[in-house]
Symmetry: C2
Subunit: 335 residues, 2 copies
């Protein structure tokens, strides 16, 4: 059905080897022959089969991007950065999305073992030490964003610092009953959320305050509605349970849900309740009141991830390194 290299060879009156040489600019093919080959290629609209080519070259020109789920603005922004940067490249690379749900190890091994990509970029997904070693053994670069990974390149966002900034901001406003909202990914909290918790606790401790465990809440899906439900729960646990300051380390989307539900219940932001989010998604500046939040340079991180990938592709034995990006507190009206 599809036209193969043999069809081209037949039409051009050469061997398929010559066709391959011509395509790859191998020196020592007459201009005349080349012309005949290209004419045949044109005529038949021939395109090399990507699978066959990849199989023999051991290279797919594809890069795997792995996340628990591609639903939050976090993944989308980083993805955008990767995509943007890839397009500046000469060689065309494809992006292969893998969502791990709650079985990241299986997916990660499937990618290396099945040779499904030339490299993998993980978003908030942490490979086990064995899996990282497996990638290394197979010469497949692994770039880990926002998680820990022994024996891989890592791009960290200083979550602890971001969280401290948020907590300090709430404390500076004289907030007493502080709540913390954390996200989970595929069941467990993950490094970034753990670090944010730590930063929060440290900031409180330095201010001579302890964290009330009943004021730490968890969400799962990063949906806006979860924030609403969560705040409803807080509010209904009696006046004692209602915080006057919330740091929503689970992100702006959830923070907005919380804010809407608070407004619906007649609780004024920021008079009665200060809210700080995380991520600074585009709409954070637009909600009412505009959301104070911690901004991370996600697009830049996506771009950087690609650059590190290219470096690693060119030099498989390159050193592992950790790149840390600093967050920034964006103060707006919600505190």
């Amino acid at each position: 059905m599809a036209v193969t290299i043999h069809d081209v060879a037949r039409l051009a009156g050469v061997s398929h080897t010559t066709v391959s040489w011509a395509i790859h600019g191998h020196p020592g093919i007459t201009e005349a022959t080349k012309a005949r080959v290209f004419k045949a290629i044109e005529e038949l609209d021939y395109h090399p089969n990507y699978l066959a080519r990849s199989l023999v070259k051991g290279r797919t020109n594809t890069i795997a991007v792995v996340a628990s789920f591609f639903s939050s603005p976090f993944e989308m922004e980083v993805l955008k950065g990767i995509e943007q940067r890839i397009h500046e490249e000469e060689i065309r690379y494809g992006i292969n999305l893998f969502s791990t749900m709650n079985d990241s190890e299986r997916v990660l091994r499937e990618i290396v073992n099945g040779k499904r990509a030339d490299a993998a970029i993980l978003l908030s997904v942490s490979p086990s030490a064995e899996t990282a070693a497996l990638y290394r053994a197979n010469g497949m670069p692994l770039i880990v964003i926002d998680e820990e990974a022994q024996g891989s390149k890592t791009i960290q966002l200083n979550n602890r610092r971001g969280s401290r900034l948020a907590a300090e901001c709430l404390l500076a406003r004289g907030r007493k009953r502080l709540a913390l909202v954390l996200g989970t990914s595929g069941g467990n909290p993950g490094l970034s959320q753990a670090e944010r918790r730590r930063g929060f606790e440290e900031a409180l401790a330095e201010a001579g305050r302890a964290v009330d465990p009943s004021m730490i809440h968890f969400i799962e899906d990063y949906y806006f509605e979860e924030g609403q439900t969560l705040f409803a729960r807080m509010a209904e646990s009696g006046p004692e349970g209602i915080p006057d300051g919330i740091f929503c380390a689970a992100g702006d989307m959830i923070a907005m849900g919380i804010m809407l539900e608070a407004r619906n219940r007649g609780i004024r932001v920021p008079e009665d309740l200060s809210i700080v989010g995380y991520d600074d998604i585009p709409s954070s500046a637009l909600v009412s009141p505009p959301l104070t939040t911690v901004r991370q340079p996600l697009m830049r991180i996506g771009r950087r991830a690609w650059e590190e990938t290219v470096k690693a592709l060119g030099n498989p034995d390159g050193d592992d390194c950790t790149i840390i990006y600093e967050p920034q507190l964006i103060e707006r009206g919600s505190v």
Copy 2:
């Protein structure tokens, strides 16, 4: 380096054929042999090479998702729907992202010709008639969302209707100087934007009003900031140029940019200016004032796209059909 079927065969003391049979549950392999094979597979941590398997089977278990650029909430929502639905499937399918920038034909042909996927879902990308025919000839299903495509399955969003709803809403508010903001994708407006324009013009015509050509504006990148810049331009073209009603068919993100810039310039929404957006992204309900907009069931469309893909994969000669989803006007405070 990597372990192949031959390594397994050697260790299990059988031929590689038998290993393959065992893996695929071919009838007529002794339980004992099977056990030996699986033990060897386990021991070596063998995983079939995806490329080799795909090459010989002529099937990649991968689906291409094509868009001009994966940057707007539109693509993200649809993608989310596809991803969600795929995960309910028994067979594991991978998602391969292709951004076409402004050369969609080249990318589309590369996908079929290079056999890079089993099927393709296009988001607001329109294949030429020849390309659609090429897909058909290669037995590769093509599902086109929000664009026209002769000879392919099509999932349409009734853009004309949505636009009418928006225009009628503005007219009902007694707005006189109506502006229309349209998006473009890769240079040209695309079907959806054209349809929105048409719906807008029709609604105005029915109200005995003509559209002022100088009040039709275009944006390109769907970035928030473009909305700001655009409104600044409108405002600076003199009082005559400032509209009292804007239908931002280019989406909520741009509408929000417009709204922010209007606010910055002391123009009150909705008192001085009514704004209607398109898409109903999560934050639209949260901005101040909350944005009136046209909602499209994007996640559902993503899910449906996958369902149609599966159907087409099972029955390559299935009829082409057009599925139309109706939009819904969500009235909020911005009009």
